[in-house]
Amino acid sequence: MAEVPREEYDVVVVGAGPSGMAVAVEAAAGGLRVALLDQGARVGGAYWRHNPEHLDDLTPVALHHDWSTFRRLLARLQTVDVRTEHTVWALERLELGFRVRALRGEVERAPVVLDATSVVVATGTYDHVLPFPGWTLPGVMGAGGGQALLKGTLVAPGSRVALAGSGPLLLVVADGMLRSGVEVVAVAESGHPTTYGLHPSSWTGLGARTREASSYARTLAEHRVPYLAGHSVRAAHGTDRVERVSFATRRGRIREYDVDALLVSHGFTPQVELLLQLEPVTRVDADGSVVVTVDAQQRTSVPGLLATGEVTGVGGASLAILEGYVAGRALTDRGVDRAVLKRIDVHRRFARAMHSVHAPREDWVRRLPDDELVCRCEEVTAGAVRAACRDLGVDDVRGAKLMTRAGMGLCQGRMCGRAVAELVADTSGRPVDAADSVRAGLRLPATPVPLSVLAREALTDDDT
């Protein structure tokens, strides 16, 4: 079979969200030949998920944030080779540089191979959703996912929506839904955001952020949407789809609502699997997620491999854009103003404070019944994982995977990995190990790849 033709770039940026766009623009401005890849049909990532109609508007659209920044970066992408509908499945280190392997087209799955001197991974996050009774009912989805559907396609995830979990995303999504005419019946936050007060220093310099938060609170109040602090999801109820949700406080006070969609977020999971393929130095961030360690120029411990945005630590879009800017300039040996570095510092401090407020209630594990699924793909129950720990001595995520199949399905543990780790730790008594989490996060290929595509990697005898 013929080898896939390789195209060469100075820089390949993986992920065209705010961070990736910033890197690509800055690197191209410095004269480099840059390719910007994204699995979506349009750039913008999840944060700037948009509908083509939004591009007609010259004024900021109600659903979007920092829209003018997006328009500015979009215009400057003219000098970048933008490749949408490209899903990267592997990063390989070559003697000089890297080989990026991707599939073009969600249906076509055509092989694409790019060789680059440097690679920047800016692949963002997906929603972190902890299991609860009824969480696999249709209509229960990640809050970011529900928001992406609305922003990208103008289709709402439901007509009577509740939001639950923990974190600022809930307010953002609720606000967007309400402005689009979707009925939001309640927002249940399991933490107590008043604890921001414990970190007064974290708010300094983030006046815009403070104004933003109060504006969301105002929207909820205007629409008379109950904001239930200290409430977490007790169960989603329904036969073939979610029909009702019940929330409960730690003391057991219960509230129920009829819904046709339940949007949930317990934080974010950075998509680090491509980075992990190259074994850079990583760490476990304050929110429990595995992230890659970078220096002040966003370089990882692997020469030529940079990382920006959420994959270096969840901290929001503004921080991600700043990091992208820094990386783009670093790639062309240009520094940045100290003011920029100070801004980055401010954002990181705020991010740390956010993590401590919105830590999910630890008792989610204890409240998860044995018959509820933890692994959606392979349909493995919490009971099966607990039994493997009790009866077979499993005390780490890898063991749980091999013995119960949790994490062996098509999503390869993206949805269940963190939850299984905590469940195993709770049952076995052995705390979650950073090394285990890293090992569990290594996925090669990072997306399923047709055997016919893989077959083209075989070197013929002429090549060797």
């Binding site: 499993v394 063991g399 790849v449 055997l451």
Partner: protein, 388 residues
């Protein structure tokens, strides 16, 4: 950290993979006091990367085949006590060839194997098409080996360890063996670990690919080296491949001595619907870096055998390091250089299949009973002779 109590064991088994687990189960069931140590969590070595092969089809008549036949019999016995979850299945294997010359070689080998107790039936293309409807029509024939079996190796090992524990064995994962203490007469009296000494009379080296390291620490070196292999796992499919299916090259590669890469097609379905695709062998030390060339060859070979797989997607790849000795036979039995040391490692891609037979021989080594099959071919001393 202080030594764990004053308990002395009859046997310390080093290595909690399939071989260590099998040994621990047999020893404990026989009434011996056993402690199993593993530097990692249970079943974290090569067993965790194994396909689950229990084969007679690829064994040359001789000591390895004798051990394989013994083991297959014991696996059948184990079926009664192991839960259904370990997916032990006598699915059978089929070797196919696309050339007349290749087929002739297979048929000749099969005749030779039949004379030594292997059931082998020559099958023509029509029969092949019935046994494997999705098999390429570009085959001239093959040989069917109904004795070949499949098991889920991690679960099997875990359940064997559990059985050992139920018979009184102590399991100490995340405990690294660091040496062996010998008494004034030279006999083993304790195994040293990074969390204290464990008094014992016997130590079983079931450390698989790290068996060479453990052997050296115990004073009875054996040349066990890693041989890397990759496996592709597809997305779940409806039942597609019904037996273990091998291209004819598989058998030859196992015995080869070349240092470079060898690949040969091995394809089978699992209970969950995924298809496992192997097999590759390389001597690259413990280098775990992904070789896209190897993955590509495995994919191409699988498609050649089962064209329907071309559009099927790989959802996961992984690799393991098989333990091998220069003559491709494992090391089993007492080490004359160290009184109390018994080896049980070096099974090169056949560890799962050969584990129960190995466990029986290890038990006999410890109790002094005559071994079911002769131990000389597996002797740890044979390498010096071979070198000479």
């Amino acid at each position: 950290m202080a030594s764990p109590g004053a308990q002395a064991y009859d046997v310390v088994v080093v290595g909690a993979g399939i071989v260590g687990a099998s040994c621990a189960a047999r020893l404990a069931e026989a009434g011996l006091s056993v402690c199993v140590v593993d530097r990692g969590p249970l079943v974290s070595g090569t067993t965790g990367a194994g396909e689950g092969n229990i084969l007679v089809s690829d064994k040359d008549p001789g000591p390895e085949l004798d051990l394989a036949l013994l083991s297959v019999r014991l696996w059948h016995d184990l079926a009664a006590s192991l839960p259904d979850a370990v997916e032990l299945e006598a699915k059978g294997g089929i070797i196919v060839s696309s050339s007349e010359r290749g087929l002739a070689a297979l048929v000749a080998a099969a005749e030779h194997q039949r004379a030594h107790g292997i059931v082998a039936e020559v099958v023509d293309p029509a029969a092949l098409a019935e046994l494997e409807p999705h098999l390429t029509r570009d085959v001239v024939g093959g040989v069917s080996y109904p004795q070949d079996m499949q098991v889920q190796p991690m679960l099997a090992a875990a359940h064997l360890l559990r059985s050992a524990a139920r018979h009184g064995a102590t399991l100490r994962p995340r405990t690294r063996m660091t040496g062996v203490d010998r008494g004034p007469g030279g006999a083993v009296r304790a195994v040293r670990t990074d969390s204290g000494s464990i008094a014992c009379r016997w130590v079983v080296n079931a450390a698989g690919t790290w068996g060479g390291e453990v052997a050296a620490l115990a004073g009875g070196p054996v040349p066990v080296r890693p041989r890397r292999g990759f496996i592709l796992v597809t997305e779940p499919l409806p039942p597609t491949v019904h037996h273990k299916v091998y291209g004819a090259e598989y058998v030859a590669n196992v015995a080869s001595d070349s240092a470079g890469l060898e690949t040969s097609p091995v394809v089978e379905s699992t209970r969950s619907g995924t298809v496992l695709i192997g097999a590759s062998r390389e001597r690259v030390g413990f280098d775990g870096t992904t070789s896209y060339d190897v993955l590509g060859r495995l994919a191409a070979q699988a498609i050649a055998l089962f064209p329907v797989l071309a559009a099927v997607r790989v959802q996961r790849t992984y690799r393991g390091f098989r333990p091998y000795c220069p003559d491709h036979l494992p090391v089993i039995g007492p080490d004359p250089r160290v009184d109390g040391l018994v080896h049980a490692c070096g099974h090169e891609g056949a560890g799962i299949g050969l584990a129960p037979g190995t466990a029986e021989l290890v038990l006999q080594s410890v109790t002094g009973e005559p071994p079911t099959i002769a131990l000389e071919p597996f002797s740890p001393l044979r390498f010096e002779e071979q070198a000479a």
